[in-house]
Symmetry: D2
Subunit: 99 residues, 4 copies
């Protein structure tokens, strides 16, 4: 299990607003019952099996092209820990427990 | 006003756990009354005046060194929009309104 | 064809040096005859067919685990443009032509 | 001394090409005699004193706004090592020495 952060940004769309592309990505993620998903003000965070997340990330990257974008900049950050289970909730808890 | 995502990672600490460093960063952020802060499973997101955020980010980057780390990898992503107010809450709302 | 930047960082290894992991990743990339690869001081940049790059990036991400790391932070940035060919050389040239 | 990678992307410009903005950033960097600069196909890498780099990065982030962009996404990745000198050339050498 890994926790992965994804940001998909279309370039040259003519408008500085990109929330419609993000919403389209989240509609796609709502169908992925095997993944935990959190929308943040700067990204989408996905928890699940890493190969499965790669598959979904490829689909998310393709979303703006299907909506007419000519260029897409996608950033993916993988946090993968093998000595103990890694979850979004667990990561937050281990910080807040120390505050 | 900008929204900025920050991740501070110490390298070579001997342990794969880094939550103690993140907690230390958040103690520092709790003193910044002029900034909105959100902890996510992959980062810290800060909303505020950009020059002020740069100042704070420099302090966050320095935190692991004060705790003994020898190398720090810090990632900063700035979202800065000048045609309308940009807030963490507004960014989330503009996506969820479309879902 | 896409241009993709990858950075693979092992956490908690006990030493702030990570060049041995980067070298191991590049040995793996040397076998990928269908990809163009450039080592920079901050990352590895790969040019090629996107699905193929994803495949290789998964292998790069796994490298530190095979060398004993318990946690790996991998950052991937994809630049994918569909209105004209995108190459590492072409991207540099389009900037330097304007200088 | 730190090594810092910067990518400045204007959003909603109407064209997927952004090399004119990158070129403008590099004209600005050519005036910074105290910094080492390398253009890569995915970013600009800067070596120098960290406070000085922050100052320059703020200027680079502002460049697209002066050219009419309404929204700018800037990514900064800092590699800061305090146990030995860190240079762009030294980082590349420590990898190629192992190949």
């Amino acid at each position: 299990m890994a926790v992965v952060e994804v940001t998909v940004i279309p370039l040259g769309t003519g408008s500085p607003s990109i929330s419609q592309y993000v919403a389209e990505c989240h509609k796609l993620l709502e169908q992925a019952d095997d993944l935990q998903v959190q929308l943040t003000p700067m990204s989408t965070i996905i928890e699940g099996e890493l190969d499965r997340i790669f598959e979904v990330v490829k689909q998310l990257h393709a979303v703006p092209f299907t909506k007419g974008a000519l260029r897409v900049s996608t950033t993916i950050r993988i946090d993968d820990r093998r000595d103990k289970p890694l979850t979004m909730q667990g990561k937050i808890k281990s910080v807040t427990d120390k505050l």
